[in-house]
Symmetry: C2
Subunit: 251 residues, 2 copies
DNA sequence: ACACACTGAACAAACGTTCAGCCAAAATTA
DNA sequence: TAATTTTGGCTGAACGTTTGTTCAGTGTGT
């Protein structure tokens, strides 16, 4: 019986090369999160990736290029997460819910990755390349949210400015990310979710008010999300607060 | 006639010392906004402040200390801006409006300063000192917003979770700042204001829906805010979009 | 005459980048 | 298949530059 192709164990030379490349990008994220953008050095990256110092300039032509590729990977991961999330449900309302759930899922919304996001955003003004990379992704995301808001508004006959509503929702999630970054000990995933839901419930009461949200809107305090503030050792945590799982058919 | 004491022209040695200190902090903000956190060097700061290289280590013991003092100054400026803004009006509703107007005023909400904010936030995870400085300021601000929301809710008998509502509003403004940073050409001050107002209008309709907001809620497109996206040469722009001036007694 | 904000040359450390050499994997030949 | 050559990912020492920091000296306000 031949050994099954494990993605973790590259065989060919091209696979190995791509694996090291990814390793370097992962190490870059790690270093920026740990030491900040200013103290991120190629020495630290190569050390954390367990490769020689000169390898970074072999895979990427320069430090700047490594950073650009890291940002590109970050945006791509985010894009694929939300686009997969809204692909499953059929109703616009459920897509919006899935979008929020994805936005606060530990895979994307953990303190390590958010620190890296903010580091890049802080540098974006002085490095237009970062702006370009983000602009395209942000534009697609904004359009998706707006389309969903428009559809829900149309469905329920709400007199709501979809553009304004979508902008509000997007900004709210960005701000909640900041809260996880700056006040991790008091951040709770379900509170973040509830903050967005109360907004949606006011915009589209028929769609976002109901018994299925009782456990989010009524339930006041139940410490279960604080431990998500820090990224787990190794990789991100996959488990999620029970309050966020499923589509809400518990009651 | 003796020359009047101009704050810009220090006379005594102690005043001069404080003036150069402020000059260095201002130059630091300038450099971070222009070159980013990673490329901010003491050589650039001293050059922009038109002083010798070694002076930074004379006024501040180290580069790190200069950065901490710069962040402290930034938070203090922000704190004084919003606390002054809510001091004038008597009604909680008007305080909330003034708070928003202050939050989007060009003095505080311009791309240069916001870039610096995000640069610091991006570094906050790796430098706990930054977290401490921000935490106190953020806490006071959060309390103020929550108190105002609670008062309005009580006044109007709304069944609104003040904590949740306040958190939503704060996150929304933070997200809108990010929009100015990342998509400056399409950012408009009045749209930002309107985004928050529609949120407040849904939470507290009796307080934030009326003829006085018509020019904000109805008026669709009128390009007048895009030029605020970039900070003006010299210092910040003081002029404001007409849509944001006054308390809204136009109609 | 003293105090002290300020200068600018000098220093060691750390940075990004380069490159000649190495060796296992792939391609070629026998 | 076995032996040989070629390829290319990778190493790590070395280089020149830039960094934050120090400090003896300067000149002006007190």
């Amino acid at each position: 019986m031949p050994a099954p192709k494990k993605s973790a164990a590259p065989v060919t030379r091209i696979e190995k090369k791509e694996a090291t490349r990814q390793q370097l990008i992962a190490a870059t994220v790690e270093v920026i999160a740990a030491d900040g953008f200013a103290d991120m050095t190629l020495a630290k990256v190569s050390q954390r990736a367990q490769v020689s110092r000169g390898l970074v300039n072999f895979h990427f032509t320069s430090k700047e290029q490594l950073l650009v590729e890291t940002l590109r990977q970050l945006t791509e991961e985010y894009r694929s997460t939300w686009s997969k999330a809204i692909a499953k449900p059929s109703r616009a309302r459920d897509k919006l819910l899935a979008l929020l759930r994805a936005d606060f899922s530990p895979k994307v919304c953990n303190r390590k990755k958010i620190a890296v996001w903010y580091a890049f955003w802080g540098e974006a003004k002085s490095r237009p390349t970062y702006l370009d990379v983000c602009a395209k992704a942000d534009g697609a995301f904004a359009d998706a949210v707006e389309d969903l808001c428009r559809e829900v508004a149309k469905e329920g006959g709400y007199a709501v400015d979809a553009s304004l509503a979508a902008r509000g929702l997007r900004c709210m999630t960005d701000g909640l990310w900041l809260e996880l970054l700056m006040a991790p000990q008091q951040f709770r995933r379900d509170v973040a979710m509830r903050t967005c839901l109360q907004y949606l419930a006011q915009l589209f009461p028929k769609h976002f008010l109901g018994s299925e949200f009782d456990h989010l809107t009524a339930q006041s305090l139940e410490q279960d999300g604080a431990d998500f503030a820090e990224a787990a050792p190794g990789e991100d945590r996959r488990t999620e607060s029970v309050a966020l799982q499923g589509s809400g058919t518990s009651a």
